[in-house]
């Protein structure tokens, strides 16, 4: 403990302060933070879209003539979910960068965003499916019996309730995503995590840069959690 405190309060910190403030390395951290946010945003959009499509396929019931297509689509989505959830994200990211998107003139942030989106989509699909299937069957029946089409029943009756159910899981997924993007450095992304290693190599010093970056992640997830708690409270008035 004493060792830790001396490190925090000692010469190292004074050195680090010089680099961080006087040499304006806080800009590196700030840019890293923006990069992380951008990457997460791209991944979130792609992941949500994939999640919706996969969840819809998994729950769909095709007409008799198209049963074969349903079977194919369901098998593909199932294999996709199993592979994504059964292998480390770091492996997936590197594979996509070096194999799938090799040689394509795309910026790293976009490739990273797509890769994380594909990863996150598998988890999103499961949580969307669970959210929708968690709604009582009677709700659909009540909607249909009034004369609503299937899509209208989904829109007015099922989705608003399912969304509420999904929200906590969705928030967790988002937080996981923010943190997990730290492995983007595997393919050379210039995110928050990279900012810490830039500062480390400048100061020969690991503690302060890592603490700063940890605080940044905490700040990002903290702000988001706080906003979502407010949203949850607001949409929970009907309970």
């Amino acid at each position: 403990m004493l060792n830790f405190l001396t490190k925090i309060l000692g010469q190292q910190t004074i050195d680090f302060y010089k680099v961080f403030i006087e040499d304006k390395y806080y800009m590196v951290v700030f840019k890293g933070m923006l990069w992380t946010l951008g990457l997460t945003a791209i991944a979130l959009v792609i992941g949500t879209l994939i999640g919706i499509v996969v969840a819809v396929i998994q729950m769909s019931q095709f007409s008799k003539e198209l049963k074969w297509l349903e079977k194919i689509l369901k098998t593909i989505t199932k294999v996709y979910i199993d592979i994504i959830r059964g292998t480390p994200a770091a492996v997936q990211i590197v594979l996509m960068w070096t194999v799938l998107f090799a040689g394509l003139p795309l910026p790293r942030i976009l490739v990273g965003g797509i890769a994380f989106g594909i990863n996150s989509g598998a988890y999103m699909a499961e949580l969307i499916r669970a959210g929708i299937q968690g709604i009582d069957k009677g709700q659909t029946e009540a909607g249909r019996s009034l004369g609503f089409k299937y899509t209208e029943t989904m829109r007015y009756i099922i989705m608003p309730q399912a969304f509420k159910q999904m929200l906590p899981a969705f928030v967790s997924e988002f937080i996981v995503l923010i943190k997990e993007t730290a492995i983007i450095s595997f393919i050379g992304g210039t995110d928050l995590m990279k900012a810490s290693s830039i500062m480390m190599s400048r100061t020969y010093n690991a503690l302060q840069p890592l603490l700063i970056v940890a605080a940044c992640y905490l700040l990002l997830t903290g702000i988001f959690t706080k906003i979502m708690r407010k949203v949850e409270k607001k949409i929970n008035i009907s309970n």
Binding site: A142, S145, L146, K149
Partner: protein, 240 residues
Amino acid sequence: MIKINELHKSFGSLHVLKGITDYVNKGEVVVIIGPSGSGKSTYLRCINLMEQPTSGQISIDNIDITGPKTDINQIRQKVGMVFQQFNLFPHMTVLENISLAPSKIKNLSKEEADKIAYHLLDKVGLRDKANEYPSRLSGGQKQRIAIARSLAMNPEVMLFDEPTSALDPEMVKEVLEVIKELVREGMTMMIVTHEMGFAKEVGTRLLFMDEGKIVEEGNPRDVFENPKEERTKLFLSKVL
């Protein structure tokens, strides 16, 4: 008005309805009784295609609803249904529950849809609950709102699937009163119920079902007092 011909329904290998042929006239109140598992709920749920019949025809106002070209959503607007578990929409206020279908399906303005909703709330005696959410209501109140909700589409027929079975005993009466009011107005209804006294009182015709068939039918009073079939006698001796 409703014509049912040789209706069969199977769930997998389970043969639930074994050939039902029946005719419901306008203004008739058909009450359906029978032991659990006799197929009475399934029969009712086939009338608005909540269950897809395995074979047989159902026509409403001379439209074959089991035909491939029929727009079932349009048919369902004419056939209201009230469920055992109420199935109110928990994310909407009472008023929104009732006005949703008129405003979205009939494209009425908010004012018009609300007007219909308030009128129906008066009818079921719950105007003061208009802005409450369903979670704040008692079971009896929920079911009255559910009835108002299906009436909002101005249906020609109402189907009641054990409307009081999930209620605490002291709340049964308020729901039955609302249904009786509909009987007085001449609404065509099919009611699956375990309330024998109520069945006798409001029914213009009674069906006794067992093992997927209509075993006996007739004027409720006659069936209750002089059942002809052995199966009916046995059932009534247990429940009366």
